[in-house]
Subunit: 554 residues, 2 copies
Amino acid sequence: MSEVSSLQKARYSYQPKLPALFAKSGLRVKAVDGAATSCVGNPGAIKPLFPNSFGRPIVSFQAGGVPEVKPLKIGVLLSGGQAPGGHNIISGLFDALRKHHPESRLFGFENGPGGLVKNKYREIDAALVDRYRNTGGFDIIGSDRTKLESEEKHIIPAVENCRKLGLDALVIVGGDDSNTNGGMLAEYLLAKKNPLLVIGCPKTIDGDLKNEYVETSFGFDTASKLYSELIGNIATDVNSAKKYWHFIRLMGRSASHITLECALQTHANIAIISEEVEAKKQTLKALVEEMVGVIAENAEGGRNFGVVLIPEGLLEFIPEMKVMVQELNEILAKEATAFNGLATDGDRIQFVSSRLTQASEQALSSLPVSLRVQLLMERDKAGNVPFSKIETERLIIDMVGARLKEMKAAGKFKGEFSAQNHFLGYEGRCSPPSNFDADYCYSLGFTAAALAAAGKTGYMAVVRNLSLPHDQWQPGGIPLTTMMNIERRKGKDMPVIRKSLVELDSAPFKKFAGQRDSWKCVSAYLCPGPIQFFGPSEVCDRTTITMELEASSR
Amino acid sequence: MSEVSSLQKARYSYQPKLPALFAKSGLRVKAVDGAATSCVGNPGAIKPLFPNSFGRPIVSFQAGGVPEVKPLKIGVLLSGGQAPGGHNIISGLFDALRKHHPESRLFGFENGPGGLVKNKYREIDAALVDRYRNTGGFDIIGSDRTKLESEEKHIIPAVENCRKLGLDALVIVGGDDSNTNGGMLAEYLLAKKNPLLVIGCPKTIDGDLKNEYVETSFGFDTASKLYSELIGNIATDVNSAKKYWHFIRLMGRSASHITLECALQTHANIAIISEEVEAKKQTLKALVEEMVGVIAENAEGGRNFGVVLIPEGLLEFIPEMKVMVQELNEILAKEATAFNGLATDGDRIQFVSSRLTQASEQALSSLPVSLRVQLLMERDKAGNVPFSKIETERLIIDMVGARLKEMKAAGKFKGEFSAQNHFLGYEGRCSPPSNFDADYCYSLGFTAAALAAAGKTGYMAVVRNLSLPHDQWQPGGIPLTTMMNIERRKGKDMPVIRKSLVELDSAPFKKFAGQRDSWKCVSAYLCPGPIQFFGPSEVCDRTTITMELEASSR
């Protein structure tokens, strides 16, 4: 075996916790159909697109179990950005299958959906899985961002490759886009009377794949704790050095769940929640003015230092910027060839500017050139701006700095303003999973296997009651279609799983909104410290504040 | 008590470990004088500057103890950048004094040496110290970068303030500069027959305050472990996403100890060690060419991804840049008024360019304008470039990218090159201290108190045998003058404590140099994970690889 760190070695022997039902009975459980379902939006448009899979019931599991136990063959793939816990879905699947029937087999498609299409796979055996138990990353089989969209290019070869392996089920571990594709694949197979089952698992550190049944996506717990650790450390530094305002941009493509959780964990002086900015229809200028007000108020109390949290997707929630970005996305989708043929940044800015509406052209030209160039970068595979590369925190530092300079000249600001910028992202996606994510993912692996054993397709594996002790966790499944609505993608209306944004009447936001004024001009910082695996339970096993508050408001 | 995190609450009850001698006898120990000392460089120049304190003996402690136990009054201050463990020096001092004599008192000067000069202080009592045990940061009393340099402005008021409090000793917790000033203050007091004692403690995450007697400075363990955690996570991401080269700049002003330790902890593909660059007299261009070679070699194996570690002080070690930066420092020190009166970046670049030698003017103009501007920023209080603000990793990404583009056009590079940049710094300086730093600092606090009880002045508190179990740790003291030599500062020759740079014949560097080729073109990454406080000893109590290797080579 190759060299591993002391911690990794110690974590190999961690036995993830399971819901009581699985701990006792493995997959010898009974799937029980609940109420029929609809979807979160546009049912009139979604239902006809999913004639065979729409409206299926919620599934839960009870003791009892299938009379006949047959070996199962499952294929699994990891899709999109990494999230801590992915390896434990695989170890959960593996252990569940092994326990179920010794002739069961698990295959991993390599490097994501792309490997499924290209028939790149490896069988997952005990030696392999043991090297990855309770570790971060997706490197056991890799991942990519291939979308299973085209029937000819993707779906037909994917289905054929599953047939050649004799798979009973395909488990897709992914975010909203990957699970949308999973739902479409399930529908396609049902229409073709193909018995291959498709089951999804809710992955994303962003925390935006959740609803009444999916209490959290995996990875959110670990990533938000790691970011909170770093923010807490920086806040302690701020409070010791008394010298800088630290502007910290946080990963989380659209939704601000990570920023909200980190604010609750650390009591940063200012935390911008994109969804609130959008609801208040704040312009960028108004937002900057509000921040300048807090900084000036701190300066009056002699505090020329503090911590500001900024969600990475902020720009897309500022009304004038949102419209401009949508227009840009459409232009770049429709005129990709002409655009990609342009030689210089200046040409590219000129090209889009002449095609934008006047308001959007103004919004674009209000930004510094460097940011305009960043907004014109290549789109990701879903046709979206790659927000992790847009340095919104620097834009805001520049704008805040310029405004404070004006105020200083006018005698309205007597403090000093010196800023440091940070982006927290990649360091959190592959962190070793917290006990919670290790347990949750292992349980999701068991649940996905149980759904397969029960012959369910087009379902997402879910585990509920996650805020209670693990023996009270409730595994089950929900139809992927229940989460769908119609959205505009690459210039077209498409059925997609709706991202769950921060709701302004949710318990976590209300808690934040009720407390933030008391954090604004003092050092009320909390320092959560590094994720602990071995200590007292209140340190090692606590879930996120977001989930605790959501659970207690249910 | 204000709200604290669950981890912080749990850490309050951690009892730091002590050397057996202190655990048994507290301060009732006997100070034993060893051999007389000299200094690391320029003894002919240093000795006359320290006629009363030069050459004093090494001090060690033995069981036995002082016959008469009198209460002690000690003042303590924290100087310069934060390092994990500072609060434990204070709790160590407090507990040592309390155990020694109930009427002993401890005073903390607020916000560093500046508070000593301005007589801002607070008495440190049990309630205060209990709130900061085993926590990161210097916020218990704050810190600043005031240098105790001027007799009139600093020394006379500082001494008077200590007299008013009736202090027996002043403990200065700081890096090389602060301890240099401590040594000069001790000499001043001896010359004036003033009985106030001055004792230093070796602080700096950079790890560059070390020698035969000072095995490590405190904070290095925690900070390098935190950075290694993040690098390990990024490396796992690299290995899963297979998409980017991540260029990570690491704090550590001059010396590359942090980069070296992180390379040993994580097996990054490339780690630049500034001291080696200097020894090899590499130009920036040659360095870039070497990195490009490794990236191209990886691409030939289909690996368009990897991890590069860059020490923040790199530029100053590249011969042509070093000379240029030294010339800049001199110009900026001597012509500060004229320079500071200039209005634009262009004017400032013009001003210095016309004063640099031709070679240095060429070195400066070879850099992008943004970097030239960064190099002309305000100097820190020691007259040095504030390297944490110089984005060397972006400069290198740009240069590597440009070179690969040329090679691609010439058909000599067939891969893809996409890079992400990171700077790891502030998140590590105030991390909750590792068990090692918590124990080491607490022991340093006891040692400083023991030196004071023994009437020693101009000494640095040291604890030796740190790689052995704590009961074999050996407390003692070494004269501050032993670490001094003559260096050029702000355009003058000055006695200063010599920074300990990475030695190319040291065990840690040799280990790295012997292994790095095997890390260059594979994913041999280790993922050290978050610092653990409660788990198995091999996870929680291991010191740095640097210290282990240095100890085993002694």
